[in-house]
C-alpha cells in the first residue's frame, strides 16, 4: 500500500487508478481506506500529502466475502465495472493475489467463473502472485497449471521483491555496462561466490506458514537462486524480458548439486540466546511450533554451475533467521595473486580480493583489495572501497515494491521470474529437501550468531571461510 501511495505521489500512476480490496473482514469502504491510510502514513517513503491521498481515495473500494462465496465475486465484478465507468480505468485490471497457497485454485476458478479474468478488446488482465510459488516441483507445476488456465503466461507476474531492489538491477549494469568487471568474472579469476541473506528476526507470528516450509524453501528457492542466476548468467542479447529469462534459465539449468549432500549442505535451527542485546527464545520454543519440528531456519548449500565460465567455482548460498544482523549480499571472491613479491609477514593479513554487492540494507557495492598500512614497514592489509547509493543518487532509490507494481501496470516482465525459472529452482532444491527429510536433524545454533558450526566446517574443509557480512 505504501508503495502504491509513493507511486501516486511521484505522479507515476495513471489517472483514475483504482484500488479494490477483497477480504473476509467486515469492512466498509471507509474502514478499508482508513487501514490503507495508516499503513501509508507509517511506511511511505515520500512525505504524506493530502491532495495525493484524496486522488487515491476516490478510487478505493472494499468488497467483503470469502473465496467460495459466489455473491461476493459478483459484487467484486460489479464494483469493478462501476469503477470502470466512474474512474475510466479502461477495463484493465491487475489482480494482486496475496492468498494462502491452498486457496489459490479456488480463487483463480472464481475469477474465471465470474468473468473477471476475460480479456476483452484491447484491455488486459494480469495476475500478481506472491511467493511461495509452490513448495516443491510438483506443487509448483500444479500451481502454474491452475494459473495459466485462466491467465496468459505472459500476464502472470511472480513478485519477488528482491528483484525490484536497485542493487539487484545494478548487477546487470555493473556486469554488462562496464568493461572492468566482465573480463575477470569467470573461473580463471573467481575463487568462489557467497550469496547471503540473513535476518535478525525470528519467525514472529508466522509459525503456521513457516513450520514445514523452512528457510531453504522460503528463501533459497526464490531469492538466492535468482540472485545467483543474475550473478552468473551470460550477457543477454538485449535487456528485454525474453532475453533475460533465456539467460537465467540457461544458467539455472546448468546448476549441479554436490554429490554428497550431507557434506555440502547444512541446515540449522536457532536456539535460545541473545540477539543484538535482546534475549530471544529458540525456534522449537516458539508459539505454535511442534517441539520436534525438523524445519530449517538456517540453510547453507553449495552448488556448482557446469558451463565454461564457471566450471569448478563453488557458489555458496546461505540464509537464516536470528543471525547476527539483517543483511543481504552477493560476494564474488577472487583468487589470490598467483605470485607475491612480498614476504609472508607482509601479506599475512591480506585476504582475497572481492566485489561485494550489498543488496540490503545500505544498498551499494564494496570492492575489497589490499593496501599498504601507512608506516615504515611493508605491511599489506585489506581495505574496502565503498559505493553507496545515497551519495551518488540524490533522489532516494525507489522501494522495490514500487518499481515492481509499476512494472506490472506497464506490463514489463523483466524483473519477474518466469514459470521455467521457478520450476528449475525447485528441481535444484527438491533433492536437497528430500535428503534432509530422510537424514538427520537440523543443527542448533545460538541466536545472534552467524549460524551453526557445521556451516563453517563445510567451507573450512575446502580452505575457505564465510565472510562476516
Amino acid at each position: 500500500m505504501p508503495a502504491v501511495y509513493d507511486l501516486a505521489n511521484r505522479g507515476l500512476l495513471p489517472p483514475g487508478f483504482s484500488l479494490v480490496g477483497f477480504a473476509r473482514r467486515e469492512w466498509a469502504n471507509e474502514d478499508f481506506a482508513a487501514e490503507v491510510h495508516d499503513a501509508v502514513k507509517e511506511h511511505a517513503r515520500t512525505p504524506f500529502r493530502e491532495e495525493v491521498w484524496q486522488q487515491l481515495i476516490q478510487g478505493m473500494r472494499f468488497v467483503q466475502g470469502t473465496f467460495d462465496d459466489d455473491d461476493a465475486f459478483e459484487r467484486l465484478r460489479s464494483t469493478i465495472e462501476e469503477l470502470d465507468k466512474a474512474q475510466g480505468t479502461g477495463g484493465n485490471f491487475a489482480f494482486y493475489l496475496s492468498v494462502p497457497p491452498r486457496s489459490f485454485p479456488v480463487v483463480i476458478q472464481q475469477l474465471k467463473k465470474h468473468g473477471l479474468a476475460d480479456q476483452t478488446g484491447g484491455s488486459w488482465r494480469r495476475a500478481v502472485i506472491e511467493k511461495p510459488f509452490g513448495h516443491d516441483l510438483k506443487s509448483a507445476e500444479e500451481l502454474n497449471k491452475v494459473v495459466h488456465e485462466v491467465f496468459e503466461p505472459d500476464q502472470v507476474f511472480r513478485i519477488d521483491h528482491y528483484l525490484g531492489k536497485e542493487t539487484v538491477q545494478n548487477i546487470l549494469a555493473l556486469r554488462f555496462a562496464n568493461t572492468m568487471f566482465e573480463p575477470i568474472w569467470n573461473r580463471s579469476f573467481v575463487d568462489h561466490v557467497q550469496i547471503t541473506m540473513a535476518e535478525d528476526i525470528g519467525i514472529g507470528g508466522r509459525a503456521g506458514y513457516y513450520d514445514g516450509i523452512g528457510a531453504a524453501r522460503d528463501v533459497i528457492q526464490n531469492h538466492l537462486l535468482q540472485l545467483m542466476a543474475l550473478t552468473a548468467m551470460e550477457e543477454p542479447a538485449s535487456f528485454d524480458a525474453d532475453a533475460l529469462a533465456a539467460e537465467k534459465t540457461k544458467v539455472l539449468g546448468a546448476v549441479r548439486l554436490p554429490k554428497d549432500l550431507s557434506r555440502d549442505t547444512v541446515r540449522g535451527q536457532y536456539a535460545a540466546g541473545w540477539q543484538g542485546g535482546e534475549k530471544v527464545i529458540g525456534y522449537l520454543e516458539e508459539d505454535g511450533i511442534d517441539p520436534k519440528s525438523k524445519t530449517d531456519t538456517y540453510a547453507a548449500i553449495k552448488v556448482e554451475i557446469d558451463n565454461r565460465r564457471w566450471a569448478g567455482v563453488p557458489f555458496y548460498l546461505r540464509t537464516g533467521k536470528r543471525l547476527g544482523r539483517r543483511v543481504t549480499e552477493i560476494a564474488v571472491v577472487f583468487q589470490r595473486a598467483p605470485h607475491s613479491p612480498f614476504d609472508h609477514t607482509a601479506t599475512e593479513e591480506l585476504g582475497q580480493n572481492a566485489v561485494v554487492i550489498r543488496v540490503q540494507p545500505d544498498e551499494g557495492i564494496t570492492v575489497r583489495f589490499g593496501s599498504k598500512v601507512p608506516g615504515t614497514s611493508m605491511e599489506i592489509r585489506d581495505v574496502s572501497m565503498d559505493f553507496a547509493y545515497g551519495e551518488s543518487f540524490t533522489e532516494s532509490s525507489p522501494e522495490a515494491y514500487e518499481r515492481l507494481i509499476l512494472d506490472v501496470l506497464l506490463g514489463d516482465a523483466n524483473l519477474f521470474p518466469r514459470t521455467e525459472e521457478v520450476e528449475l529452482s525447485w528441481k535444484i532444491l527438491d533433492p536437497i529437501e528430500e535428503h534432509w527429510d530422510k537424514h538427520g536433524r537440523p543443527a542448533q545454533y545460538k541466536s545472534g550468531t552467524w549460524g551453526p558450526a557445521e556451516a563453517d566446517e563445510m567451507l573450512a574443509r575446502e580452505g575457505r571461510s564465510w565472510r562476516r557480512p
Partner: protein, 382 residues
Amino acid sequence: MKIDLTDTTAGKVNKALVQGRRAIGTPAVGMVLTLVVVTDEENAYDALKAAGDASHEHPSRTLVVIKRVSRSPRDRTSSRLDAEVRVGVDAGSGETVILRLYGEVADHADSVVLPLLLPDAPVVVWWPVNAPLDPAKDPLGALAQRRVTDTYASEQPVRELSARADSYTPGDTDLSWTRITPWRSMLAAALDQVVCEVEAVEVEGEEFNPSCELLAMWLADRLDVPVKRSLSSGPGLTAVRMHTSEGAIALDRADGSLATLSIDGQPDRAVALKRRETAELIAEELRRLDPDDTYASALRFGVERLNASASAAVNTAPAPAPAAAPAAATATAPATTPATTDPSPKGEGAVAGTALEAAAEAPATESAPQEPPPLKKRAKAT
C-alpha cells in the same frame, strides 16, 4: 553529529549509523577496522579520547562497551541497552558508538557487538582496565583477531604477566609490551654498533611496572644470558645495562624523556626516549594485526625464570662515560637484522627509524617494596 538511543537494540544502532552517515553527506564506509573498547564508566573518557586520536591514523569504527554496575536486585534482572552514535567531527576519523549495558545484557555484550562489526574487517578488542585473564576465551575477545590488554593498569602486574603467559593465544598483546618498542629498537641498534658477546644484563625500573619485566624477559629470551631486574624510583624504565666482552653498554633514562646511550670506547649519545601517550601506543598496536611472535616468546620466558636466572656478573658498573659528543642522530641502526637481538622478526625492525621519539609508561611513581629480584649467583654458561 550525535544520535542518542535509549533502550535500543543493535539493529536500531545500525540504522542510526547509516542515517548519521547519510546526514553528514558521506554515506560510504572507508574504515579499515573495528576497535572494541571494553571499559567501565570511569575510564571511558580517556579510552575514547585515545581511540579517537588513534583513529586519525587508522580510520575505524570504535565501539565502546561500558558495562554499568547494577546496584539493586531489580536492576540486575532488568536489562537495557543505551547507545550514543557519533559520526563526523565528533568521532575522529570514523564512527563511534558508545554502548551502555545495564543488567543482564551486560553479560551478553558480544550479542550487541557482533551485529555492529564492520563487514569482514579486522576486529581489535582493547581492555584499558580489568582485562579478562584469558582474553581469547572472553566472549568479546573471541570476536577479535587482536586482543590488547594493559597489565600496567592492573593491581598485581607481575602476577598478571604470568597468567597472560599461561593463557597466551596468538593475537594477544599488551600495551606494556608496546611501551618498550623504542627501547628494544634502541638496544638492538646499540648492539649493532659493537661486535661483542653479551654476558649479562640488568634492567632497572620502577616497581609494579610490567614493561621492565617484559624487556628483561625479551633480552633473556633473545640473548640467552642472565638478566637481572632491579628497582629504581622511576619514572618507568630507567636503565638497561649490558655487560659485554667488549665492555659495558648502557641506556640510561632518568627523567622519562631523554636518555643517554653509553658504549665503552665511544662517546655518550643523547637519545630521545619520551614516555608515550596511550593514543600513540594504540595507533602503533593497530599497525600490525598479525600475531606478535616476539611478544609471545618473551612472555613465555616466564617471570620466575627471569628472577632465577638473574645471576652471574651483573654487578658491572654503569659504563664509564667518556667523551660526550655527537648527540642526536643515533638511530642509525638500519633495519638489517642485528647480530643477536632483532627487535622483532615481524618487521618491527623498521621501527628503529621512527623510534627516536619515545618509549612510554603511564606516569606513576608509587614506590613500595615488592619482591626484589633475588640476586643469586648462578653461573650458567651460555
